[in-house]
Symmetry: C2
Subunit: 345 residues, 2 copies
């Protein structure tokens, strides 16, 4: 294990119990029945524990969209041509994609990171050069990447966890629900058929090819106790970077709001490398992909939203950010019974 990865894993602190308890205690003094804000109360308390502040505020919001291409796209597993990955990156940089709209609404910055998109024109436009290779190899035929590339993807993600009070994870990569589902199957032990979905909207034939591709990849043998090996064999560069992002954020006490399948697969890898990373993860939503629900169950995370999204890009995470803000603002701004001279029960 390379040095930065090792140090990051070792450096993830426990949540701050003092701040968390202080938040909980304050909620009980606010002008509302005890517990009546439902899940927003433990959400705000958890954020207090993550940030180490009894009344946290999440001013700097960043959506980190990790993008890469996938060799397995050549196996006919997607409804869209592979060129769409690069085209959508250009769309992100011009502000026309769904994630741009949602980020503008909630006042979040979108950082687009090219971990391995085919074609080179985007380096000029993209902000951070993190390209590992021009797409992975076809995971149905051979390992998607080398172990060294997997480690580089993880370390690239660690470096991205900065300048933020909260990070939302996002992904782009034609073919990446195939890689994502393969990682989920490998890390949970579920049969591929239970975690494979229709991605961007494929037909039954394409789904059969997708399932066969995943099963072929898994047939090389995967070991859930070796997350870096799983990533190298059946993962993707953006999935690796997202796993690193989760680790880096946890090490820096930054809450991470997870998006859909790719982010969930990444969180499974991160939490296998460092179980304590889970304490910094919030499930923004549960997507329409069957593998995502399985992932959240394995992580023990309850999603904030369930709106049937299956877009990626960080959209489901960005949609949940106002709920985090609400939880923090309620904790911070509501009057206490004493202040408002309201009779307690």
């Amino acid at each position: 294990v390379p040095l930065l990865l090792k140090a990051t894993i070792a450096g993830i602190p426990e949540r701050d119990k003092v701040a968390e308890d202080a938040a909980r205690a304050r909620f009980d003094r606010l002008t509302k029945p005890t517990g009546s804000l439902g899940r927003l109360e433990p959400l705000a308390s958890a954020l207090a524990g993550m940030c180490g502040r009894p009344r946290p505020r999440l001013a700097r919001k960043v959506v980190v969209v990790c993008a890469a291409d996938h060799g397995v796209a050549g196996a006919g597993v997607s409804a869209y041509p592979q060129a769409v990955t690069a085209q959508m990156l250009a769309n992100f940089l011009r502000g026309g994609a769904a994630i741009n709209v949602l980020a503008r609404q909630v006042g979040a910055e979108v950082r687009v990171v090219d971990l391995g998109v085919l074609g080179g024109a985007l380096e000029a436009l993209g902000e951070i050069p993190h390209k590992i290779a021009l797409g992975t190899r076809d995971l149905s035929r051979e390992p998607a990447m080398t172990r060294e590339q997997a480690e580089r993807a993880l370390e690239a993600g660690i470096a991205l966890a900065e300048r933020a009070d909260v990070i939302a994870t996002g992904d782009m990569g034609i073919g990446n629900t195939t890689a994502g589902a393969a990682v989920v199957a490998a890390m949970t032990g579920r049969p591929a058929d239970q975690v494979v979905g229709n991605g961007t909207g494929i037909d039954a034939d394409a789904r059969a090819r997708k399932l066969a591709a995943i099963e072929a990849g898994l047939a090389r043998g995967v070991d859930a106790h070796d997350p870096v090996g799983v990533l190298a064999s059946v993962g993707g560069f953006e999935i690796g970077a997202l796993a690193g992002l989760v680790l880096g954020a946890a090490a820096r006490r930054i809450p991470v709001v997870l998006d859909g399948l790719a982010s969930g697969a990444a969180a499974l890898l991160a939490c296998a490398l460092a179980p304590r990373a889970r304490d910094y993860c919030i499930a923004g939503h549960v997507s329409a992909e069957p593998g995502h629900r399985v992932t959240l169950e394995q992580l023990g995370l309850e999603p904030l939203l369930d709106l049937g999204l299956r877009l990626g890009e960080g959209t489901g995470a960005a949609l949940a950010l106002p709920l985090l803000d609400s939880a923090c603002r309620l904790l911070d701004e509501m009057a206490t019974f004493d202040e408002a001279q309201v009779s307690d029960r």
Copy 2:
């Protein structure tokens, strides 16, 4: 039936199918897989149909908090003393309550309306004089109000549906989950035991008193085909006003985001008076009150959020407002495949 109520019911238009279809068609040209925004797509299309605009924006957001006291509070059905209704109104007007915090976050105005709060000091502070009486009578012993008072409450609510692109409903009134559950039982035919909950957090003894109070009220006989009679017998002034608010908003093509049990009971009354009003209702959330889930099933509304809230005030509706904004902004601001030069499938 008095004139304003009759005219309002007759004046509720169908949703604008042309605007709704235009919204749906536009979603299919935006840079995302078809249908991948899940429930946000039909939500935005429905809003287009309600507003009669193919790309609606919800600039003026208003939370209308209707407040009143309940004679049944004297039967020991709440965890809080009745004085809390008036104290919380003062808290609303000073900006210290949960609904104030959430409204500030989403840029909504809070309008507090006193339909029948005990005590008179608030008239000086409150903005709109709509007081019908100093609380209802005890619904467990006699009808909560006269039929004329019920009609006045409905008409007061109709008048409140103005100066807004979207309205969130809110309520305050110690004892009003008793009245709300009684209305739900009357309008759905469910046994009281299936719709009664723990309100602000009552113990088993208080719950038994609450159930007995509701059953005593219902035993006088209620007819779901006479919603005004149900309101008069077992409802509350704020529930009547909220029902009128739903009718008035529908007549003016203003989408209504419903909060919890009191708002849901009001929507049941409104939709019994004018079934088309349902086309303008959005369920912001489902609360922890068992009667609320029953209500949404009866209305055929799927809640946007399920966070275990049981506070009222409009909090669950206000929390959903950013999702409505997101749906409208995505429809309006995303690039099309042509504009972004992204390959369609």
